[in-house]
């Protein structure tokens, strides 16, 4: 089980993400944004949080056009798994690997605090290891986390069971309280909250760990 984490100038959650992947049993390789290919045998690509290219133009816009992102898009087209967290989610919408866009928080302010998340009824490995009987409390840390899409896209996401995570109390104005969505094949997840920041008891919470464990389960021998 191998995860590759793309590192852009301004990424700052890349090493935290590596720790979380390793805790779930993945080996991890870091991949610089100028690479044109992913390492051999990669199962999952992680797009980490941070401020790639200083959020210039729009959050995630420049990273989305970087060489490594073309390789990530090819990986997704081949049915590979991709996990984009926070800035990674913004990159996924900017590449159109996921629909919609992430705009400025409705209250304008940057928000950094743990929030309760509800896990959607999806078929995805990203969600299946969560205990859905209670919300998972996972930190958010973003300025542009307000998910928006037109009614048609929202209807499609809902109808196809692609809304993976919603906020129990909407912190940023996101439409339909959306915190995380899946691609049509369920293998690409974009999520604004940071599960990797709640993946070790030393961090004060392990509520985010099931995301990585569920994903690892997708590669367990039958």
């Amino acid at each position: 089980m191998k995860a590759a984490i793309c590192v852009f100038p301004g990424s700052n959650c890349d090493r935290d993400l590596a720790v979380a992947f390793r805790a779930a049993g993945f080996s991890v390789e870091m991949v610089w944004h100028k690479e044109t290919t992913l390492p051999e045998g990669v199962d999952v690509v992680g797009l980490p949080g941070g401020f790639s290219y200083g959020d210039y133009l729009r959050a995630g816009a420049i990273a989305a056009r970087s060489p490594v992102c073309r390789a990530v898009a090819d990986h997704a087209v081949r049915g590979g798994y991709v996990l984009g967290i926070c800035n990674g989610f913004q990159i996924l919408t900017e590449t159109a690997m996921l629909p919609g866009a992430l705009v400025r928080n409705a209250g304008i302010k940057y928000i950094c605090r743990p929030v309760p998340l509800l896990v959607g009824e999806t078929e995805s490995p990203f969600t299946r290891a969560f205990d859905t009987a209670r919300p998972a409390t996972i930190p958010i840390a973003h300025h542009d986390g307000n998910y928006t899409a037109d009614d048609e896209v929202l209807g499609m996401l809902r109808g196809e069971g692609r809304i993976a995570f919603t906020y129990a109390e909407n912190p940023n104005g996101a439409r339909h309280d959306i915190a995380g969505i899946l691609s049509a094949n369920g293998r690409v997840l974009g999520i604004m909250p940071h599960p990797e920041r709640a993946a070790d008891p030393a961090l004060g919470s392990t509520d985010g760990l099931p995301l990585f464990q569920g994903l690892a389960g997708a590669f367990a021998p039958a």
């Binding site: 816009a61 919408t93 900017e94 866009a101 705009v103 409705a106 304008i108 104005g173």
Partner: protein, 76 residues
């Protein structure tokens, strides 16, 4: 040869920064400002002969996110 690209959030997309500007203007005593939308202007210095179609591609592929933004190109 210069092109100026105006990028605006589409109608219907919430613009909290524009809203904050509207509030500030009201607090300063400027009455009658019923709405503010904030956008951005990108100026491109272009080699002679660069076509409008080419600038349009730049807008579609990078300068604007057409999911949420509209753009207008002006040659100056």
């Amino acid at each position: 040869m210069k092109a100026r690209v105006h990028v605006m959030l589409k109608e219907g997309v919430l613009d909290p920064q524009g809203e904050a500007i509207r509030h500030a203007l009201g607090a300063m005593g400027f009455e009658g400002v019923e709405g503010v939308r904030q956008g951005k202007v990108i100026e491109l210095d272009l080699a002679p002969g660069t076509t409008a179609a080419r600038v349009g591609e730049m807008c579609e592929m990078l300068l604007a996110n057409t999911v949420i933004e509209s753009y207008r190109i002006e040659f100056v």
